[in-house]
C-alpha cells in the first residue's frame, strides 16, 4: 500500500492510484474551518495538529484557498505564505491542497490574466494539489489557472461543480468532463465538487459511475459537505462506484456544515471491503486528541444555529456559506425570516436565475438577492452590481437557460435589451501594470514589498495594507493560541501568558491593573513584559456629538435626498471605490461610489446631472444608512 507524498509528480501519483487497492483521503481542514468556524481556525491550532496529521498518511491536506486567504489576513492576521512555510517545516511529506475559484482566484470577482498567473505561480511554490472550480462550470474561466498549475508541475484537480434539478443530468456532467479534458489533457485528478452536500448517496454513486463508464482511467476525487448529515452515505456510494479520493476531516472539530469525520468514513468503508490506502488510524485519533482541548476557544465562531440542516436540499447553500449567511441573518436581525428566505425565496431565485451552481461567488449573489427580495419587498427592485454583472453574462454564459426578461427589465429598465446588447457578454479584463502596483505598495508601506506581499496586495489591496501595518505594530501574532487571540471579556489580574515569538524567543506577560486617567479620557493597561513593567494607553471612546447627524433616515428620505444631489448611504456597507473627483461633471446614472456589503459590490449612481461638489466618504469607510457619501450640485 503506497502512500502518496509531497514531491511526486502527477504521472506517478496517477499510476500509484490506479494500481492501488483502495481509496485515499484528503483532510479538508480548510473547508471545515470555513464551513463550521467562519474560517477562524488558527495556524497555531493547525501547527499543534501538524505532527500527527503528517503521520496520518493523507493524499493531501487542504489547508489554504477558498476564503481562507482573505480571512488569514483580515481576521487571523497571519501571512498566508508564512502559514504554508511553517506547516511545511512540520509536514514535509504531506501534500498541501488549495481550493481556487478559477478566474476569481481566492476572491469574489474576476482578476486580470497577468494577476492570476502571478498569484498562482507564487502559491504553486507551496501548494501541491490545485482544486480549481468555476461557479458557472465555464471552463475558459479556469484556463489560466490550469496552465500555470501544470507549468509549475503541480497536481491539477479541475472540478465539476455539482447540483441537483432536472438540468443536472449525468449526460451534462460527462460532457463537462470532456470540455475540461480538451483543455487540460488526461493527466488530472477530477473533482466532483458537491459543495452543498446535495443529492442522495445513490445520486452521487450514479454520477461517479457515469463518468467512469466514459473515462475508466479517471481518478475521481469526491468532495462533499455534511450539511444534511448524510455525507458519509454519499462518500460510501462514490467510493463503491470507484472514486479514488474522498474528503473528510478530524472529528474533534467536525460540525454540521463541513466535512464528516475521517474515522467514520474509514470504519464504514472497511465493512464494505474498501481500505484507506497509506492511512495510520492511530495518528488520526491522536490528531483529534490534540485538537479536542482547543475547540472550546472557537465556540464564538461556530454557527448561530446548531444542528444538521436537511433542508439544504431545498435552499442549496454551500457548506462554506452556511455559517456566514446565518451570521449575517443574526447580525442583521432577520434570523426569524430565514425559513422564508431559505425555503421559499432562495429556491425561487435559483430557478429564476438559471439554476446554476450555488457556490462562491454565485452563492453570494443568490443569497443577497433572496435577502434583498424578502427584506426590500419589491423583488429584484434593488439589484446588486454583481447580480447585474451576472445578468449581463460577465461571469460566463448561463449553463442551461437565461433568466426571464422581466428580471432584466427590473435590473436595467425598459431599455434593457439595448443594455444587454451593448454591455452583455464576457469582457477581457485588461492586464494591470504589476510593476506599477509594486511601487504603489512600496509607497504605502514605506519599504520594498516582497513578491508574496505583492501577491496578497493584488488580491485584497486595502486589507493587505492594513494587515502589513498590523504586523508592523503587533508583530507575528500567529504564535498566540486561540485562548488568547479570541479571548472575550479580558484577562484576569495577575494572569500570566507565555508564548514563543516568531524567532523562537520565549516571553512571559503578566496582566497588571487597568486604570483610567483622572479625566476619564484614557485608560492605562499595565503589563509586565518579560518582567519589565510597561503600559499601553488607550483613548476611551466618547459619545460624539456628531452622531446626531447620522440620525436615521428612512429609505424614502435617502432617495429624496439623492434626487437633490445629496447622496447618502442606502445600506450598511464599506466604501470600496470613489469613482469621481470633486469638480467633475456627472450625468444622471453615472457611477459615483461603489459600496461593498456581504462581499457584493453595489454602485451608487447619481440621480441628477450636475457637478460633484464634495466627496465626504473615503475608500475603506464603514458607512451606515443615511451617512453622507457625495454631494452633487445639480445643473440648473
Amino acid at each position: 500500500m503506497e502512500r502518496i507524498v509531497q514531491g511526486m509528480g502527477i504521472t506517478e501519483v496517477l499510476k500509484i492510484m490506479r494500481q492501488a487497492d483502495g481509496y485515499y483521503i484528503t483532510n479538508t481542514a480548510r473547508d471545515m474551518s470555513q464551513s463550521d468556524y467562519k474560517n477562524r481556525i488558527l495556524l497555531h491550532t493547525d501547527l499543534l495538529a501538524a505532527p500527527s496529521r503528517e503521520e496520518a498518511g493523507y493524499f493531501s491536506l487542504e489547508i489554504t484557498g477558498g476564503a481562507s486567504v482573505h480571512v488569514d489576513i483580515l481576521r487571523k492576521q497571519v501571512d498566508p505564505f508564512l502559514k504554508l512555510e511553517l506547516l511545511r517545516e512540520k509536514m514535509p511529506k504531506t501534500m498541501f491542497q488549495t481550493l481556487c475559484r478559477g478566474i476569481n482566484l481566492f476572491g469574489y470577482r474576476p482578476y486580470p490574466q497577468n494577476v492570476i498567473r502571478f498569484v498562482v505561480k507564487e502559491f504553486a511554490k507551496y501548494v501541491d494539489v490545485w482544486r480549481v472550480f468555476d461557479f458557472m462550470n465555464h471552463v475558459p474561466n479556469m484556463q489560466a489557472v490550469f496552465e500555470e498549475v501544470q507549468a509549475a508541475g503541480k497536481i491539477l484537480e479541475p472540478c465539476i461543480c455539482f447540483s441537483t434539478g432536472p438540468e443536472h443530468t449525468n449526460e451534462f456532467y460527462v460532457k463537462k468532463v470532456q470540455e475540461i479534458l480538451d483543455v487540460t489533457g488526461n493527466e488530472i485528478v477530477l473533482c466532483i465538487k458537491n459543495h452543498g452536500g446535495l443529492g442522495s448517496p445513490k445520486r452521487a454513486g450514479d454520477l461517479v459511475d457515469a463518468i467512469l463508464q466514459k473515462y475508466p482511467e479517471m481518478i475521481i476525487h469526491y468532495h462533499g459537505h455534511n450539511t444534511d448529515g448524510n455525507d458519509i452515505g454519499r462518500i460510501v456510494a462514490a467510493a463503491m462506484a470507484g472514486a479514488k479520493i474522498v474528503d473528510a476531516s478530524d472529528h474533534a472539530f467536525t460540525g454540521f456544515y463541513g466535512p464528516p469525520p475521517i474515522l467514520s468514513v474509514i470504519h464504514t468503508l472497511k465493512e464494505y471491503g474498501r481500505n484507506a490506502v497509506g492511512i495510520n488510524e492511530a495518528a488520526i485519533m491522536e490528531t483529534s486528541e490534540v485538537l479536542q482541548p482547543e475547540r472550546k476557544y472557537y465556540e464564538y465562531f461556530e454557527s448561530q444555529i446548531k444542528g444538521f440542516d436537511p433542508t439544504v436540499q431545498i435552499h442549496k447553500l454551500p457548506g462554506g456559506a452556511m455559517g456566514s449567511s446565518l451570521e449575517q441573518a443574526a447580525k442583521g436581525g432577520f434570523l426569524d425570516k430565514m425559513p422564508e428566505i431559505l425555503h421559499k425565496e432562495l429556491p425561487k431565485v435559483q430557478i429564476e436565475l438559471g439554476n446554476y451552481w450555488s457556490v462562491t461567488p454565485g452563492s453570494q449573489i443568490l443569497w443577497t438577492t433572496a435577502v434583498s427580495n424578502v427584506q426590500g419587498g419589491d423583488r429584484y427592485g434593488n439589484c446588486s452590481g454583481d447580480l447585474k454583472n451576472l445578468l449581463l453574462g460577465k461571469y460566463g454564459p448561463f449553463p442551461f437557460y437565461q433568466p426571464p426578461d422581466w428580471i432584466y427589465e427590473k435590473a436595467f429598465g425598459p431599455e434593457w435589451k439595448k443594455v444587454l446588447e451593448e454591455q452583455g457578454g464576457m469582457e477581457a479584463i485588461e492586464d494591470i501594470d504589476i510593476d506599477k502596483e509594486r511601487k504603489v505598495l512600496a509607497d504605502k508601506l514605506g519599504y520594498a514589498p516582497t513578491e508574496q506581499q505583492l501577491v496578497t496586495y493584488l488580491q485584497h489591496p486595502n486589507d493587505a495594507v492594513n494587515f502589513f501595518r498590523f504586523e508592523e505594530k503587533f508583530g507575528r501574532v500567529y504564535v498566540l493560541p486561540p485562548s488568547i487571540l479570541f479571548r472575550r471579556g479580558g484577562f484576569k489580574l495577575g494572569e500570566s501568558i507565555t508564548f514563543k515569538d516568531h524567532s523562537g524567543k520565549e516571553h512571559i506577560i503578566e496582566m497588571g491593573p487597568m486604570q483610567e486617567s483622572e479625566d476619564g479620557s484614557e485608560t492605562n493597561v499595565y503589563l509586565n513584559i518579560d518582567h519589565h513593567q510597561r503600559n499601553f494607553v488607550f483613548e476611551n471612546a466618547v459619545a460624539q456629538a456628531g452622531e446626531a447627524k447620522a440620525a436615521k433616515l428612512s429609505k424614502k428620505e435617502i432617495e429624496d435626498l439623492a434626487k437633490a444631489g445629496d447622496v447618502r448611504t442606502p445600506f450598511t456597507a464599506n466604501v470600496c471605490e470613489i469613482s469621481v473627483k470633486e469638480g467633475q461633471e456627472v450625468k444622471a446614472g453615472e457611477k459615483l461610489v461603489v459600496l461593498e456589503a456581504m462581499k457584493m459590490q453595489t454602485p451608487v449612481n447619481s440621480e441628477v446631472d450636475g457637478v460633484v461638489a464634495k466627496i465626504v466618504a473615503k475608500v475603506g469607510d464603514a458607512v451606515q444608512p443615511g451617512d453622507e457619501l457625495v454631494k452633487v450640485t445639480p445643473s440648473a
Partner: protein, 480 residues
C-alpha cells in the same frame, strides 16, 4: 543651631538643596507655583509655601519670595540655578532684609554678570581672553569700531549682548556686509530681551572645547578649585553631557587652567561656589569666557570625583563657616559623567514632551550611579517649565569603566509616557569618538547620525500591545 533655609527654586535642584539642608540638620522650606502642586520637592521639604499660580512669574518675583521668606522666618535662601540665582537685585534684597543669600555677594554677581566689566577685571588680572572689544559705542561710531576689530582679528566674529548669557543674545557675523545688517538688529534684540542695548564683539574660536573649573571660596579669601569639567557636548549652547575631569591629555595644561580659574576668582573677590568657564582651541590655547555665580546643573560630576558636597559647602560658607579643606586636600579620582535625561523627542528636533504623564519609571541603580531627579511614576510633567527630568551621574575608576557603566545604566532606565533623550544617549555613549574622549562643541552637529535609533518595539512588546488591547476592549477587535 537649627536654621530655616528657603529654597527659591523647583525641580531636581530644589530637591538637591533640600537634601543638603536636611543633612545639615536645618529646616528646608520649599516654595511652589500651582503647576508644581504635585512636585516632589514640596513633598520632601519640611515646609512648603504656595506662592502663586505662576507659571514662571512667581518663582521670579523678588518681592513675593522675600515676603514668603520673612513670613516663614527663614535665615537663609538658596536660589539654585536659573530663576533668581544670578539676579544681583535678589541677592541685594536678601541682604537688605537680613536674610543670608547662599551665593556670592550682590556686587560680585553684578560685576561678573556684566560681561564687559568681567572682561575688564580678568584682563587686569592677566587672564587670557578671547580677543574682543569693550561695549561698542552708539550709532555709526560703534559700527566703525566693530568693522575695524573684525578686520584686525578676522571674521567670523561673535556679536554679544552685554547683559546676555546662557547662550542667549549671541550672533555670529561672517563678513562686513552682515555686520552692517546685524549690528542694529542685535542692539534692538538686546534692548527688548535684556532691557539693555549694549553689545560687544568677540573673535570666534572655531569648534573649541568647553572646559570649566569649579571654584569655591570663603569670606576670608581662601579659594580652591575642585578640578575641571568638560561640557563640550552641547546642543545649541545647551549642555547635554558633562564630564569631570576634562579628558585633555596634557595634565599640565589642565592644571594651568584650574590655577587660572582660582586667579580669576580671587581677582573678582569671589565668595561661595562658582564656575569659571574657558574655551580651549585646537592649538591648546585657552581663553576665559565667564564666571557663573551659582551652583551649576553639572556640579554633581565634580562631587563624584572629589567627594566634596558642593551644596553643603555652599550652605556652610554662607552661614559663616570657613572652608574646611585646602587645595592640597582636593584629589580627583576617576571619571564622572552626567547625562541630562530630558522629556524631549530627539527625533523631532528635541521638541519638549511636557504635559505627558510618566506611566512607568524604573531607574538604574548599583555601584557608581547617582540620580538627581524629581519625577515619579504617575507624575504629569508640567508643560510650563524646562524639560529636565533627571540627571544621571555615573562614576567609574577609569574612563572606559565609566562609559561601560553609562551604557548599562541607560539600558536599565525605563521611562514611558514622554519620549526622552535616553535612546539618543544610548547611541552617543557607543560612538567611537565619544569613547575615545574626542569631542568639542561641534560634536552633536557632526554626529547627526546619533539621531538614528529605532523606536521599534520588540516582538514581545508588540504582541503585548495586542494582548493589552484585547484586555481593554474585552475582545479582539481585529478578529471579530
Amino acid at each position: 543651631m537649627k536654621k530655616k533655609i528657603l529654597i527659591a527654586n523647583r525641580g531636581e535642584i530644589a530637591l538637591r538643596i533640600i537634601r543638603a539642608v536636611q543633612e545639615l540638620g536645618h529646616i528646608a522650606v520649599a516654595i511652589y507655583e500651582t503647576p508644581d502642586k504635585d512636585a516632589l520637592h514640596i513633598r520632601t521639604a519640611d515646609e512648603a509655601v504656595w506662592i502663586g499660580d505662576g507659571p514662571r512669574c512667581d518663582y521670579l518675583d523678588i518681592d513675593k519670595v522675600i515676603g514668603v521668606a520673612k513670613k516663614a522666618g527663614v535665615d537663609a535662601i538658596h536660589p539654585g540655578y536659573g530663576f533668581l540665582a544670578e539676579n544681583p537685585d535678589f541677592a541685594k534684597a536678601c541682604e537688605h532684609n537680613g536674610i543670608i543669600f547662599i551665593g556670592p555677594p550682590s556686587d560680585v554677581i553684578q560685576s561678573l554678570g556684566d560681561k564687559v566689566t568681567a572682561r575688564r577685571i580678568m584682563k587686569e588680572a592677566g587672564i587670557p581672553m578671547v580677543p574682543g572689544t569693550d561695549n561698542l559705542s552708539a550709532g555709526d561710531h560703534g559700527l566703525r569700531e566693530a568693522i575695524d576689530f573684525a578686520d584686525k582679528y578676522g571674521y567670523p566674529v561673535m556679536l554679544k549682548a552685554t547683559a546676555g548669557g546662557g547662550g542667549r543674545g549671541i550672533r555670529r557675523v561672517e563678513n562686513e556686509k552682515q555686520m552692517r545688517a546685524e549690528l542694529p538688529m542685535a542692539r534692538a534684540e538686546a534692548k527688548s530681551a535684556f532691557n539693555n542695548d549694549s553689545v560687544y564683539l568677540e573673535k570666534v574660536v572655531i569648534n573649541p572645547k568647553h572646559v570649566e573649573v569649579q571654584i569655591i571660596a570663603d569670606k576670608e579669601g581662601n579659594t580652591v578649585h575642585l578640578g575641571s569639567r568638560d561640557c563640550s557636548i552641547q546642543r545649541r549652547n545647551q549642555k547635554l553631557v558633562e564630564i569631570a575631569p576634562s579628558l585633555i591629555q596634557d595634565k599640565a595644561l589642565v592644571d594651568k587652567i584650574c590655577e587660572t580659574a582660582v586667579t580669576a576668582a580671587k581677582a573678582s573677590h569671589y565668595v561661595n561656589a562658582g564656575t569659571v568657564e574657558f574655551l580651549v582651541d585646537r592649538d591648546w590655547n585657552y581663553y576665559f569666557m565667564e564666571i557663573n555665580t551659582r551652583v551649576q546643573v553639572e556640579h554633581t560630576v565634580t562631587e563624584m570625583v572629589t567627594g566634596i558636597d558642593i551644596v553643603r559647602t555652599q550652605i556652610k560658607l554662607a552661614l559663616g563657616k570657613k572652608l574646611s579643606f585646602t587645595q592640597d586636600d582636593i584629589h580627583i579620582r576617576g571619571y564622572a559623567v552626567e547625562m541630562r535625561i530630558n522629556a524631549e523627542d530627539p527625533q523631532n528636533n528635541f521638541m519638549p514632551e511636557g504635559g505627558k504623564t510618566v506611566s512607568v519609571y524604573r531607574s538604574p541603580g548599583g555601584y557608581g550611579v547617582r540620580l538627581d531627579g524629581f519625577v515619579y511614576q504617575g507624575f504629569t510633567i508640567p508643560k510650563v517649565y524646562d524639560s529636565l527630568l533627571v540627571k544621571m551621574t555615573v562614576f567609574g575608576f577609569s574612563w572606559n569603566e565609566t562609559v561601560d557603566r553609562l551604557l548599562r545604566c541607560l539600558n536599565n532606565f525605563v521611562i514611558t509616557g514622554p519620549k526622552t533623550t535616553i535612546p539618543y544617549y544610548v547611541n552617543l555613549v557607543q560612538d567611537p569618538d565619544f569613547k575615545r574622549g574626542d569631542f568639542d562643541t561641534s560634536f552633536i552637529e557632526t554626529h547627526s547620525h546619533l539621531i538614528n535609533y529605532e523606536e521599534q518595539a520588540s516582538e514581545g512588546n508588540k504582541l503585548a500591545h495586542l494582548i493589552a488591547e484585547i484586555h481593554y476592549k474585552g475582545e479582539n477587535p481585529y478578529a471579530v
